[in-house]
Symmetry: C2
Subunit: 303 residues, 2 copies
């Protein structure tokens, strides 16, 4: 009973047995710009690119789902998810480069199937009882690089790169209300995003630059560096030297961690002076890395 | 009506009007080691430490919740969350240093109240219909540094530092099943965690080191660096110099991002040689940063 794919409503995306190929394929007739973008994204060199056993044939965004042809492997995978009594699972969108949790919604089988095939984060709207692809109105799609299920297969991560702000308010993520700030009377503030350590540091350096510009705040080492390129450059050289020394002189691991922290911090001050975000640096690494490029480039430069 | 805290069932954690103080306080009689740890954690210098308007008086872990005394501000905050028809909201635990999504569960009012006060990630188990604090049996607590609500206040992030692996399988996170890997026939693999760019790079460098040790895989630049400390050190110096040059010679931003990527990659190879994780480096930064330490230390060293 459970093995009759065409009978189950959630299997409206029936198997396309004519396509044994791996890889995401879009019909050449794909005409809608969103789908063309999806196709371009899918065919571009990707990060840890895999070839999902999914083939997609669609003529427009509107009819894409109906025309999706899902491989039996996808069907089996969709069946392995522990959908709740409403046919849903939690779906969390995370920025592949920064780790920021962008938003959380719910997916049903169709939403996950569509995300697997189009690589655009797609959810099931409980209020509208319909599928929605994040970005279908704002054009701020979340371009999915990988999808993970949790150990009991009832929670999903869409790991991807957003085209722009994810929140409907225009904020980068939907999470900008700190409970502890709120308890101290602060109003939610879109500039006070949930941030992990690296980006908290980046935020602090940015604030110091604003203070250095308008003369507010206390004197600080960061401000001094921001205002003196020669000092900043000599510090970066010095910190690189101290990191190297921990290797050459076999210093202990805590010393290495500490010197790496120093180097990273000072280099991030330089990024601020140059108005470059860590996210851009990580994007460079991801792209090189996916092409084994960083190794090849470095090797090429040296040999 | 809505302002009568003691009347609502979810307000069993009644206000302790005798304690107008901010900050988390534990009774001196706190005897259970878990609570002592929570108290120690709460009183230690924290990252972006805030003083939640919560006071806690508890004699044991078991009785902690019953004895919790919650400030009216907390009560108001708890009421502002859009709990679903079962009184739940999605709660996602995220590693404050690495950004890794550790697990996802659900919280009810009591679970969120307990997390706010104890700073240990606490959930409501739908299967057992009871509160559970992650780590209460494994001792692998998730020590919460901040809590965020999303824009429509029905999704929660517990941003914290795990004491050890979060997943019941012993894996670092619960998300180790890649959908695209699964579609290519790979079995879930706890070593194949969901990872953002920085940690994917770290993983790749680790794999190259394993290959360099056992002689497997193709020759690569990373392996060459891993096996030659002098080469590695000269490259780090060189990349630091090239990053600096982008500032001194006013090169364009893409050049800065590219040189920073080079420096970060080469420095991460050194971390691998020294068996130091990026997470340790970020922990150093978080701790210094929370004490404004990095600035003060740097300033002290220089002046």
């Amino acid at each position: 009973m459970a093995a009759a794919p065409a009978a189950a409503p959630a299997r409206a995306l029936v198997s396309s047995s004519s396509s044994p190929s791996r890889g995401v394929h879009f019909c050449s007739g794909t005409s809608h710009p969103n789908l063309r973008a999806a196709a371009a994204s899918a065919s571009a060199p990707g990060w840890r690119r895999r070839d999902p056993a999914v083939s997609v044939a669609a003529g427009s965004a509107q009819s894409a789902l109906g025309a999706l042809a899902v491989d039996p492997k996808v069907d089996t995978l969709l069946d392995s998810v522990k959908w709740d009594s409403k046919g849903l699972a939690v779906a969390i969108a995370q920025n592949v480069d920064t780790g920021a949790i962008l938003m959380q919604g719910f997916a049903n089988k169709e939403a996950l199937a569509k995300t697997i095939s189009t690589k655009k984060a797609t959810f099931f709207s409980r209020s509208r009882s319909s599928l929605w692809t994040k970005g279908e109105t704002s054009m701020n799609f979340i371009n999915v690089h990988d999808i993970f299920l949790d150990c009991d297969r009832d929670s999903i991560i869409y790991l991807g790169k957003p085209d722009g702000p994810t929140c409907h308010t225009g904020a980068e993520t939907c999470y900008y209300t700190s409970v502890y700030d709120a308890l101290q009377g602060s109003k939610p503030n879109e500039d006070r995003q949930v941030t992990i350590t690296l980006y908290s540091l980046e935020d602090t350096i940015s604030r110091r630059q604003e203070e250095a510009t308008d003369g507010s705040g206390k004197p600080s080492w960061t401000k001094k560096l921001l205002l003196d390129n020669q000092l900043l450059c000599s510090k970066i050289r010095e910190e690189a030297g101290e990191l190297i020394q921990t290797l050459l002189e076999n210093e202990d691991q805590s010393r290495t961690a500490s010197e790496m922290a120093d180097l990273l911090y000072h280099a991030m001050v330089l990024l601020r002076v140059k108005d470059v975000k860590m996210e851009e640096v990580l994007e460079v690494l991801r792209k090189r890395f996916s092409q084994s490029g960083i190794e090849e480039k470095a090797s090429r430069n040296k040999s």
